[in-house]
Symmetry: D2
Subunit: 289 residues, 4 copies
């Protein structure tokens, strides 16, 4: 039976460890000193203990936030990346999220197979669901009106936007999509949404809530100024975000920059999505998992 080591990460990785154990794998973790571990998951205090006997080593998402230590918010001690790398050996397989090129190269030079799960399509597609539910939750919490009948603008029409529009529409909101491409606007129309070009936001009417999914400065000061003062803005775009937050604050517009929603609002589902993705990679690479 294969052994997985889960080293660091947030609550998602605790659920990931539990889900692997439920599938019958042997699972050892390190970096979760401050949390209860799921049934049949063994916790170690040291990374090298956990990693040494493992066939597959799962690293967090992102692997590191400072370049030198493992991203392990539930660990009592800091876990240097170098220690983790030095204890891995040829024949082992590492799967990490946003693996840095230098780290990837170092592992491969040691004969360790390494894969980045972050760019996998099925991860992105499935993470759009908890992201959309998290954005919905924020809107439900903040708006004084029901989403039924509310006017919602969603900028961009990628995976997150599509998932979010679907939820908003299902709740009875009036959904407007702002997208650059004619065919995206045509598709939005077939789904019951209004659609405007991104360049025509000024004419798109008034909204109770605006969701941005475009990672570029869509809502600069002139565009913010065109919004009603009661408009709620929820920015779902990764850094640098899509809103001039200083200008929004100056105009009295309530703005929420909601990053990393899957791990925050649905860590269990996010952990299971990670597990499926990791197992897909291993199967495609010929591992008998």
């Amino acid at each position: 039976m294969n052994t997985f080591a889960v080293l660091g990460g947030d609550l998602r990785f605790v659920y990931l460890a539990g889900a692997l154990a439920e599938d019958g794998f042997s699972v050892i973790t390190a970096g979760f000193d401050h949390t209860d571990l799921p049934h049949c998951v063994t916790g170690c205090t040291r990374v090298d203990q956990a990693a040494k006997g493992a066939d597959f080593v799962i690293l967090p998402l992102p692997v590191t936030t400072d370049g030198t230590t493992l991203n392990a918010p539930f660990s009592r001690s800091t876990l240097p990346l170098a220690d983790m790398v030095s204890c891995l050996h040829a024949g082992q397989t590492v799967l990490g999220g946003q693996l840095q090129p230098a780290l990837l190269q170092e592992l491969q030079e040691n004969g360790v197979r390494a894969f980045d799960y972050f760019s996998r399509e099925e991860l992105i597609v499935q993470n759009a669901v908890p992201t959309a539910e998290g954005a919905l939750q924020l809107a439900l919490e903040e708006l004084p009106v029901t989403l039924a009948g509310a006017s919602c603008l969603v900028t961009g029409f990628g995976r997150v936007s599509k998932a979010l529009c679907r939820l908003l529409y299902a709740l009875g909101a009036n959904v407007t999509v702002a997208a650059r491409r004619v065919s995206d606007r045509a598709l939005a129309g077939t789904l019951g949404y209004a659609a405007v070009p991104l360049t025509a936001l000024a004419d798109a009417g008034a909204f109770d809530v605006v969701f941005n999914t475009v990672p570029a400065l869509i809502f600069d000061e002139p565009r913010l100024r065109a919004l009603a003062p009661s408009t709620l803005i929820i920015d779902l775009a990764s850094r640098p975000g899509g809103v001039d937050f200083a200008a929004a604050a100056g105009l009295g517009l309530k703005t929420i920059w909601a990053l990393s929603l899957p791990g925050r609002v649905a860590p269990k589902s996010a952990g299971i999505i990670l597990k499926d993705t990791v197992l897909n990679i291993l199967k495609e690479e010929g591992e008998a998992v």
Copy 2:
């Protein structure tokens, strides 16, 4: 032009006052010392000032919680019901929520027309929407999983249950309805939900979340004991509720008793629903509003 006096109530009644003013009515309020009033709404410090020139007097929901003072959580001073009654006179029309029989009789003896808007069908039907959205919000906040794919049990199949099931199903949850009547279960089946008799809850499987809408002790200790420890319970039933809360606490089950959701999660929409209901009553009574 008709004049409305809005006396007391929670945030919904502030929005109600604002919505009446937007419709072009003259609106005077009392009992909102601690809140900003909407545009074109005049605030008085005393109830008799606000009431004396009004054609229509709107009282809160419920009119009183202690039997002697007006329900006015935003008022600095207590507002005795007796003062309010003594300043009303023949020719005026009063609309209140859950008007007590004694109060109703006293008003009518003074020549004041009085109506209870609380039992109006269109109010109940429309309030099911903010109630359902509020229940959805609680589930999104509390569950570690996405509602997409979650297993949800809803007991009862009245208006709130129907509205809630629709939202849960639209988000991709697996919905089971527990209802007494065969025809309700048949209807649930046509909508894509599983259905079980209320007496067969024990065989209904495991759930991530249970929503109760039946105002009777459905979840007594034996039934609570049959739930998995991680089950979230959200009770939407009015007093006395449908859950043995002490037993639930003893079993470690997380339970939320969510009352008065419309006013709490969507006061603006709830205020507009109240406005529509009040105007419907007045139109049916032949008033030229």
Copy 3:
């Protein structure tokens, strides 16, 4: 093991017989000379042969269309009701649709238990689904436009109307409900439909298709005259229907009176619904089926 006799009826009753046989019952039929019988169903040429050994005798819907013979469109010979009645005996249970009072009384005088399944709520609720799908099919066949984006009026807001509105809305149509009751219009509003009083049809705008579910003359000549000449009218109401068909023809309005849709568009589903209803009745009456 219990034996069922299925005497006469349309294609639904063939599927009903087959579904009972699949459930493990012994099933004998009469009145289906012109059709292949399902696996494990025995066909008789004479009604008395089929009925004599049966515990439960299922009669068609309606039992008779002329008052004297069994409604058996697939039978080569006419089957007098009197023959059928005379061969039944005490201890047997008869289940028929729209059983005439005289027939019911005669059976009961013979010691035969008799039930009418036609008025059962779960039958009505479930039959709304094939009715709505049949109405949808007619609209898809007849309209030169897609239902996505089409304007649809549905009069009445009972079970069939609710099921139909749900399908039309799901396909992206603009749905308007015309209903008498304020609370029905309020409910329609919460589901995303426009709503008008039945008395205000003239102001309701233009429609690509009108579905009537009200069994009363809603569309008299003045109301027909108010419709655009290209409007398609689909009348789902039972006799006398809701449309002045002569006036509609005179105005060049295409009108379809669609009766008995479940048996025509989805006889297998309709047969299974009948089976469920019949078994529900027997269980409630204490039979060990």
Copy 4:
């Protein structure tokens, strides 16, 4: 004001002509001798008459089916392509569907601007809706069961498949998608559908209806043999289709090859989609339409 000539085509092009006239353009047609023309549309008997004064000339989809004459099913006479080409002149703009390279080159040598609207994304996206509604209509017509509760397999997960799955799911069907890509199957899962690899159709269970959208031989004899004899097959793939029709016939499987559904089931909507696409092209090319 700009003048459009609409030369040949099926019923969609009559509606296209009418929609352009409603938008205020001057519209002349040729090739519609056997049909009533919409209001404000002028019909000519000869192509050169219609084309000579037009700014924009719209040719049918496809422009020709035999390589030498215009595709004009409503014309009494044959309309040689050569005549049409010879009467066009520099400064005119031609928009056709599936314009042959040789024809395109000849036009451009004459100084005529020419565009093919068939490959436009917004046309393909929007045509998926009438195609999906047409496929739904066929299933409603042919199946003895309601789509509510029916088991449906859809092969491929492109635009038509996505639109169709959405309709089937909305009607309450159990939808299984067969797709090659892991991420497509993941996306299908987030929308509530089951998903299987195209290579695992044999294990996908039994279906009431199978819709193929893949233009490759998916259903060869072995795969057809694995289907239940009562399975309905609806092939939506363009030539060569995805079903071995001879093998299907031999196995007694009912198969419908449904081509060109938009023009057949919703010619008015299809005409409006064409109009929008043509106007989009002209706007992008700088024309003041």
